[in-house]
Symmetry: C2
Subunit: 546 residues, 2 copies
C-alpha cells in the first residue's frame, strides 16, 4: 500500500487578520497545486488568519469570519486534499488547529499539543492544548501531522514515532519566525527526527513580515535518512511539489552552512521583506526618511529603495550649524547614487526661535545641554511627520540596536516613525550590511566616505559618538553577551578584558532606557533576543545589576 | 488545639525589581507587627520583587538577589513567623512561591497552582505550575495557603476544602490589580468560599502603582460565615492585625456596595496613586503639563497637584491663533485655583516658520489639512519635552480613552509624555471625575466654565470635537460595549438605537489607530479592558469588522 503521493508545500505570505485576503490566496495556491497534480497540499500554521493574530483571537466575530472562509474554501471548485491551519473553538475551547481536508471534505482536525509561550510567543494566552497526536491514512500512506512547536518540545511526539508501525511521513506546518542561525537549527532538528525514526518529513513554513516578525519560508522536504531533498525559497512565497515514497532514493540538495555572506544575505532579505510587508500591508506605498549623511540613514534608504523602488523614497536632510558640509555632500551623493529624491531644509532658524521662546517664556537662560540636542532631533521629527502626513508617506526611523539599547537617541526625535528596520541590528552589523549591499549593488552604492567616517549625532559642535560611548566593537559585544546570552557583568568584563564598571554602566543605561523603547517604533527581529515582544521589561524597575 | 492566633496582614507597596528596597520594607513591617504581638504575618504575592516583574524573572542575577534578600530577612533580629511571596527555582523550574517561615526558619514552600495568563497576566511565560495544595499546622490551627488565582480558578482548591477535616483558616496572598467593581467581585468570591466551607479567610492584597497597573490593597478578614470583619485601607499601605479563632464571634463591618460616588473615589484614588508611584519610583519629583483650558488637562493638573503637591506641577499654555482668549483665561483661572505655576508661550510664530519652511523646502504650497493640525500639537510637544529635559520634570500626557480609542490625537504631539493617566478614562467619566473633584476640593476647584464649555482641540478655526465625532455619550457607549463587552456592531447599533454604519465607523477607527497607541504613553488600567498589556492587537491587521 505504499503508493507514492505528490505532496505540495504552499509557502504562503498570509496577512494577519485579513481572512478574506488569505482565503483568496489559499484558493489560488490550491488551483496551482492541483494543476501540477498535487495529491495533498500543505499550508503553514494558522495560514488562514496569519501569525500572530494576537487578541483578534478573542473576538467572536473574527472567529466566525474564519468559519465562513473555511466553508468558502471547501465550496471552491478545486476539490482537492489539503492541510490548513486556523483557530477553532471545539467544545468551548479555542485550539490552534490543522484541518485535514480530503477531496474538500474536512476529515480530521489536529489540535496543537505544545503551545509556545516564551520569547515572542503567547499561545497559552489564547489556545487550549490538544492532547492527542494525529496519524491518518492518506492514499495508503500513514502520515503524522504536527504543528510547529510540537516537534521542538523535548516531550514532543517525534520521540515516540519509531514505536508506530509503518509510519510513512511526518508533516509539520509552522509559523517559525526568522532569526540568525534559525534555518540551521531547523534543519538539524528535522534531520535528527528523520534519522531517528527513519522517516520522510515535509516541513511547511510561513513567509512574510508581520510587525516585529519576519517569517523566512525555507520550507523543506527530507528523505528518510535525514537528507534535504528540496527547499523552499528564502523570504518569498513558493509552491513546492514533490513525489514522496519510502522506496525512492533522492539526491540530497546542499543546505549551506551559515557563512557570513549567507547570513548577511538573510538579514538583508529579512529587513527588506519586513519593511515591504509593513509598508504595503498597512496601505502605504511611499516612505520618507531623515537623511543625515551618516551610515544608519544611508542603509535604511538603500534597503527602502531596494524593496519599494527608489521613486517611492523621499529623503530630507535638515542641517543646523552643527552639521558639517561633508554630511550634506554625502547625503547628496547618497541620493544620487541610490536614485531617491532628497530635499534639504535648514532648521537652524526654527531651532533658534524655539530656544529663544523657551528662554523667554519658560525656563530662562541656561547652558547648552542634552535639552538642546534633543530639541534639534525633535524639530526634524516634526518636519518629517508633517511630510508624512501631507504626502501620505510612512516615516522610517533609522535607529540601530546599539543606540536603542542604551537610549542614545531622542524620544519623539530620531526615534519616530512607523518602523525602525535597524532596531535589532547592532552598529557593527550596520557597517557589515552596508558593505555587503555595496558589493551587490555597485551602481547604487552607499558612498564609501559614509562607511568610513567617524559616527556622530552632530547635535553639538564637533560631537562624536566616541565622546560618550565605548567603541562600537566593545559596546556591541557587551550588549550581545548581556541581552542575548544573559551573561553577568563580571563575566562579560573578564571575557572581553575590560573593566566591570564599564559593563555595569552600559547595563544600567540599558535598564534606564526602557521608557524610550516602550514609545519607540517597532523593529524587525533578527537576533535571538529583540526589543519588543521578545524582551519585556518593566519601565518602573528598581533592579540594579551592580 | 484551637488556640486563637493573631494574624497580621502587611498590605505592602512593593517596588518592582527593587529587591533591596522591598526587603528593608518587609523587615520594617515584621518589626511593627511583632511589636503588636502578631503570631503570623502575611505579605502579598511576590511581595519581595513587586508585581509584575516581567522579564526580570528570566535573569539569573535577579533571582540570586532574591535568594540573598530572603537570607537577610531570616537573619534580621525580628525572629517571627511570616508568609512571604517570591519567585524561586526549585528542581530546575521557576515557581511563584509563598514561603512559610516559622520563627524565621523556612518550613514550607507553597507553589502557586493556577497561573493566570489572560488580560494583563503572563504568568505562564515565567512560571511552572505547582501541583500540591499546602495545608500546614500553625500553633494548633490548620491553615490552607493559596496564591491569588488559586481561589479564582473554577477548578481551584477551595471547592474541595470542605472535605478536609478540621481546617481552620484559608489564607490567600494576592497581587490583584484594581479595576472598577473588582472589590465587590473579590468580596463576593471570598464570602462564598467562606460560607461554602464554613471557614475563616485572611486575604492579603498588594497596594501601589506599577506602570499600567494599580493595586488597591483593600485586604480583608472574613469570619467563618462569610462576613467581613476587617478591611485594609484602599490605595495605601496598611498593617492589619486580628485575633482569629473559630469560636469567636465578630461584628461584621459594612463593605459598601459600589455607589457611583464610591466608584469615583476609587477611580480618583487609583489615578492619584498610579501617577504618584510612577513619578516617584522612576526618580522624578516634578511634572510638566500642557494646559489648554480644556477639561482633560484641567483634570490631569488637579490630580497631579493632589498627589504630588501643586508646587511640583508646572503648566504651559501654548496658544496659536486658533486658541480662543477664553481658553487662555480659563488656563489662568485653573492655575490660580489649584495653585500650580503656569507659563504662557505663544507658538504662532514657530508654527508659521515651520509651515513656510515645509512649503519652501519640502512639499510646496498646499491646503490646510490634518498636517497643520498635527504640526501645532507637535510644536507644543517639543516645548514641553524641552522643559521636561531642562528641568528634570516628567511630562504628563492628557489624552483620555475616547480619543485614544479612535486616534483623535497627534502621535508625538499631545500623545507624548511618560504616562497618560486618563488613557483608560472615557471622556464622559472625565467630566464625572472633574465634578467629583470639585465637590471635595471647593477651594481648589476646576473652573466651572471648563466643565461646561464645548470640547475642542482648537487646531483650526472654530473647531469642535462634535464636528468629527458623535456626542461623547454615544461614542463612549459604543466603545464600552465593543472594547469591554466584545459586542458586535449590529447589536450595539440596535441596543443604542443608532445606525450600524456609525458603529462600524468607530470600530474601524479603533482598529486603524493601533499604531498610535503602540507608541503612545502607558496609562493606568481602570476598566475591565485597558489598552496596553490588557488588550494586544496587531498593528498590521487586515480584519474588517463590516
Amino acid at each position: 500500500m505504499n503508493r507514492n503521493i505528490k505532496v505540495a508545500v504552499a509557502q504562503m505570505n498570509s496577512y494577519v487578520g485579513g481572512v478574506e485576503y488569505n482565503y483568496k490566496k489559499i484558493v489560488k495556491f490550491i488551483k496551482s497545486a492541483k494543476e501540477r497534480a498535487a495529491d495533498l497540499i500543505c499550508f503553514p500554521e494558522l495560514a488562514l488568519v496569519g501569525y500572530p493574530p494576537e487578541d483578534l483571537l478573542l473576538s467572536s466575530k473574527f472567529l466566525k469570519s474564519v468559519e465562513l472562509a473555511i466553508k468558502k474554501i471547501q465550496q471552491s471548485k478545486y476539490k482537492t486534499s489539503f492541510i490548513l491551519g486556523y483557530p477553532k473553538i471545539i467544545e468551548g475551547k479555542l485550539f490552534n488547529v490543522a484541518g485535514v481536508f480530503i477531496n474538500g471534505q474536512l476529515k480530521y482536525e489536529y489540535k496543537k499539543i505544545y503551545l509556545p509561550n516564551y520569547g515572542v510567543f503567547d499561545e497559552e494566552r489564547y489556545f487550549a492544548a490538544g492532547d492527542k497526536p494525529l496519524i491518518f491514512n492518506f492514499k495508503g500512506r500513514n502520515i503524522c501531522l504536527t504543528i510547529c512547536e510540537d516537534i521542538w518540545h523535548k516531550n514532543g511526539i517525534y520521540n515516540n514515532l519509531s514505536n508506530i508501525e509503518s509510519l510513512d511521513l511526518l508533516i509539520n506546518i509552522s509559523a517559525s519566525p526568522y532569526s540568525t542561525f534559525k534555518q540551521g537549527e531547523r534543519f538539524k532538528l528535522l534531520s535528527s527526527i528523520s534519522k531517528k525514526n527513519n522517516l520522510e518529513i515535509v516541513y511547511c513554513n510561513m513567509v512574510g513580515g508581520q510587525d516585529e516578525l519576519v517569517f523566512d519560508g525555507a520550507s523543506m522536504y527530507l528523505d528518510s535518512k535525514g537528507n534535504p531533498i528540496l527547499k523552499g525559497k528564502d523570504f518569498s512565497e513558493d509552491l513546492l511539489i514533490k513525489t514522496l515514497g519510502r522506496r525512492l532514493r533522492y539526491k540530497a540538495i546542499p543546505i549551506k552552512r551559515g557563512t557570513k555572506n549567507e547570513s548577511l544575505l538573510h538579514i538583508f532579505s529579512a529587513l527588506s521583506l519586513g519593511l515591504k510587508d509593513y509598508v504595503l500591508k498597512n496601505g502605504f506605498k511611499k516612505v520618507v526618511i531623515g537623511i543625515s549623511g551618516g551610515i544608519d540613514s544611508a542603509l535604511v534608504a538603500a534597503i527602502a529603495a531596494k524593496s519599494l523602488g527608489p521613486k517611492n523614497v523621499l529623503g530630507i536632510a535638515m542641517p543646523t550649524k552643527f552639521n558639517s558640509q561633508l554630511s550634506l555632500n554625502l547625503a547628496n551623493d547618497l541620493s544620487e547614487n541610490i536614485g531617491f529624491r532628497l530635499k534639504i531644509s535648514e532648521i537652524q532658524e526654527i531651532f533658534d526661535n524655539n530656544l529663544k521662546l523657551l528662554k523667554r517664556d519658560v525656563y530662562g537662560k541656561t547652558d547648552f545641554d542634552i535639552t538642546e540636542e534633543n530639541l534639534q532631533a525633535r524639530i526634524r521629527a516634526n518636519i518629517l511627520m508633517a511630510t508624512s502626513n501631507k504626502l501620505g508617506s510612512l516615516l522610517l526611523s533609522t535607529g540601530n540596536k546599539s543606540e536603542t539599547s542604551i537610549g542614545y537617541s531622542t524620544l519623539y526625535g530620531d526615534a519616530t516613525g512607523g518602523i525602525a528596520i535597524l532596531k535589532d541590528i547592532p552598529k557593527t552589523l550596520v557597517y557589515d550590511l552596508a558593505k555587503f549591499y555595496n558589493i551587490h549593488n555597485p551602481n547604487q552604492a552607499i558612498p564609501l566616505k559614509i562607511i568610513h567616517r567617524d559616527p556622530s549625532a552632530e547635535l553639538r559642535m564637533n560631537q562624536k559618538d566616541s565622546d560618550s560611548l565605548p567603541p562600537y566593537k566593545i559596546l556591541d559585544k557587551i550588549l550581545e553577551l548581556h541581552i542575548e546570552d544573559g551573561i553577568e557583568a563580571i563575566k562579560i568584563a573578564s571575557k572581553l578584558g575590560i573593566k566591570k564598571s564599564l559593563v555595569l554602566k552600559i547595563i544600567n543605561k540599558l535598564n534606564m532606557s526602557e521608557f524610550k523603547r516602550r514609545q519607540g517604533p517597532i523593529g524587525i527581529k533578527i537576533t535571538s533576543k529583540a526589543f519588543g515582544r521578545d524582551r519585556r521589561y518593566p519601565i518602573t524597575n528598581g533592579f540594579k545589576e551592580a
